[in-house]
Symmetry: C2
Subunit: 234 residues, 2 copies
């Protein structure tokens, strides 16, 4: 049993972990969405539980281990559930790509929060408008172009020629960027056919398809990491 | 032999890798600082060499493996050179803390580049001024407070009660923040005695002391990640 702790109400970084667990059919509890969930999560963040105190969610608790940082959680669980090959080169590659996906996620967040996470979007709108242009014109093509290149070279999968948790994360990046930046994605997608194919294939995997059709999959919204503000996608 | 590739002229993210290698006494080449160095680095970034194409430096080449992403490099090399305990819990903890240090590094960079890495600091100065206040008042206390807490609980070391590569990274974070934000650090340091003690202990380690006294250690400057602009530290 895996206990996942993440903010209820948003997909956010927790979604990468949920996709891995749902794809693998691993039993898990999404603790913070249950009774007294936030209170239980707070105990870890406040250092009142055993194990390494995490700075922020998501984190998972498995046996006696508390594991935080999204990419590390995926590397750790991916190996346990068989969603990454056993050899060192493949595991290192998967983790390296996932860490780079984490970098995109930070930047996608900072488009709407370029000054401070503690401020509202409305309090940093001029700066967000300015940052969004650079994100759409420079950063999205750079990251997506790199992911496309390594996936195309890998014969349609970024790691080892087989489906791994990284394919699921690419699905989520495509979903998130389509929601937040539909116009930009419309113009970029012809140049990333391998990523679109990965996205479409992941969506049809039995565990993922069932998950997406369930209430466990929260809709995107303007509280999460990927946010749709039309003015940032012009 | 380890081949390290990173931008010459700055400490940047490459410095975390250099500190590990120098502490362990591992033979390595700092390739991009040698003849035709940038050209050799470009071949990897352009996908013209075998192995996973890295998106950005730093990356290391060991045997046939190309390993990128600073925290992953440290996890990979740390195990090889014995700068992290062998047990899973310690290795996961070290990596999780290092990943959180990577998050501080991103934020320390974005203080002076809140809009785009492709613009000069002077082109985003009003935004930088605004972001710096939040970084100094909210983010630095949060990150340093967390590092202090887990290190104090660990009996003076963040991982497993022993010196690991994470101690070296804490040294570098303290050094970098002191250079970039001397006033802020002056007021924060009384609340982080364990981190200051780690910093002082690391500085005296034979490999580190020799490195810091050598020309291999580049000085901090306003091209790197940590930059001193007095107006951002008021």
């Amino acid at each position: 049993m895996v206990d996942l702790y993440y903010w209820p109400g948003i997909q956010g970084r927790g979604e990468f972990v949920r996709l891995l667990l749902e794809d693998a059919g691993t039993p898990y509890r999404d603790v913070a969405r249950g009774p007294d969930g936030i209170k239980k999560m707070r105990r870890f963040l406040d250092g009142k539980e055993a194990g390494l105190r995490p700075l922020a969610p998501p984190f998972v608790v498995v046996d006696d281990l508390v594991v935080g940082q999204t990419a590390e959680i995926l590397s750790f669980l991916g190996r346990r559930v068989g969603l990454v090959p056993e050899d060192d080169a493949a595991r290192l590659a998967a983790h390296q790509i996932q860490l780079t996906i984490s970098d995109v996620v930070v930047e996608a967040h900072d488009v709407h929060h370029p000054i401070a996470s503690s401020l509202y979007y409305d309090d940093q709108k001029p700066e967000a408008l300015r940052r969004s242009g650079h994100f759409r014109k420079e950063r999205m093509p750079k990251y997506l172009g790199w992911l496309e290149d390594i996936s195309a070279r890998g014969g349609g999968h970024p790691v080892g020629g087989v489906h791994t948790y990284v394919d699921n994360s690419i699905f989520q990046i495509v979903e998130g960027l389509r929601y937040a930046f539909p116009n930009t994605m419309k113009s970029l997608e012809p140049s990333i056919p391998t990523l679109v194919a990965i996205h479409d294939r992941v969506r049809e995997r039995p565990g993922i398809a069932a998950y997406l059709a369930s209430k466990r999959r929260l809709p995107f919204n303007t509280q999460g990491i990927f946010r749709h503000y039309p003015e940032l996608d012009r």
